[in-house]
């Protein structure tokens, strides 16, 4: 009796599938990777932001506005908002996909959460730019 062919990855995948390298989810490891990338970016950004907020405890409007308007702080605040909302969007997506099983409900929840997060990110960015520019 002939030995059955070994089920290696090369034997099971089509040539095109192998060249694309993205697997059944069609996006490869992009979701996983961006979640880690934003997490790593948020480590220094979070430390900087918490330290800044501590130094601004009880500060008045003029002081806080001047702090936001300093170019260094403006840029880091925009990075913080972008990385935070992106990271939150990826994280909440996984939570929804894990716990909501009905397909229509799941899609509706995903779209709603992503829309709200996008609004939050845009509002934060607008506020920072309004103060800074």
């Amino acid at each position: 009796m002939a030995k059955p062919a070994k089920l290696t990855r090369a034997a099971m995948q089509s040539g095109l599938g192998r060249a694309r390298g993205l697997g059944a989810a069609k996006e490869g490891v992009q979701h996983w990777w961006v979640q880690r990338l934003t997490a790593a970016a948020l480590v220094p950004l979070t430390l900087w932001f918490v330290a800044s907020v501590i130094l601004l405890t009880g500060a008045d409007h003029a002081t806080v506005s001047a702090w936001i308007a300093r170019p260094f702080n403006t840029v880091l605040l925009l990075c913080l908002l972008g990385a935070t909302f992106w990271h939150a969007s990826l994280g909440l997506q996984v939570v929804i996909e894990d716990y909501i099983h009905r397909e229509r409900t799941r899609l509706a929840a995903l779209l709603a959460v992503k829309a709200v997060l996008l609004l939050g990110a845009l509002s934060g960015i607008l506020a920072v730019l309004r103060v800074a520019l």
Partner: protein, 143 residues
């Protein structure tokens, strides 16, 4: 067979109803440091996503002008505001520390059971310590 078995059904691609295997329920297990910290990472992540809107409203108030900002500061300084901020700080530092633990796992470090337990308790201690430190420094700055 209990009532839950009846709910564990699915359909095959040709529409036939099939019974799905039922995995042991979560409440069968005694809570352990590993499982409690794992679900806490999720819960703190969800809390932080909600709390991010607190940050956005603070920035919007600053953009709006001095009176709106004074109102926002007054709310943050109230008992409810401080309670929310304290919860936010704790969730932030927990998710921060445990996130670093996750990044270390992603790099292949600390997978054995002893390390997982040790880094788990260290994460709890660091999160509580950093939260208390941040608040002590905040109060010190305010004078």
């Amino acid at each position: 067979m209990d009532a839950r078995d009846a709910l564990m059904t699915g359909t095959t691609s040709d529409g036939r109803l099939v019974r799905r295997p039922l995995s042991p329920h979560l409440q069968v297990y005694r809570p352990q440091i590993t499982s409690v910290l794992s679900i806490s990472h999720r819960i703190s992540g969800i809390a932080l996503a909600v709390g991010t809107f607190l940050l956005v409203s603070w920035l919007l108030a600053a953009a709006e002008g001095p009176s709106a900002f004074a109102e926002a500061q007054a709310f943050m300084g109230s008992f409810l505001g401080r309670l929310m901020l304290f919860g936010w700080t704790l969730a932030l530092f927990y998710h921060f520390c445990n996130g670093i633990r996750h990044l270390a796992w992603d790099l292949g470090h600390g997978y054995d059971l002893e390390s997982v337990t040790r880094t788990g308790w260290f994460t709890v201690g660091a999160a509580v310590g950093l939260t208390l430190l941040a608040w002590a420094l905040g109060y010190a700055v305010m004078g």
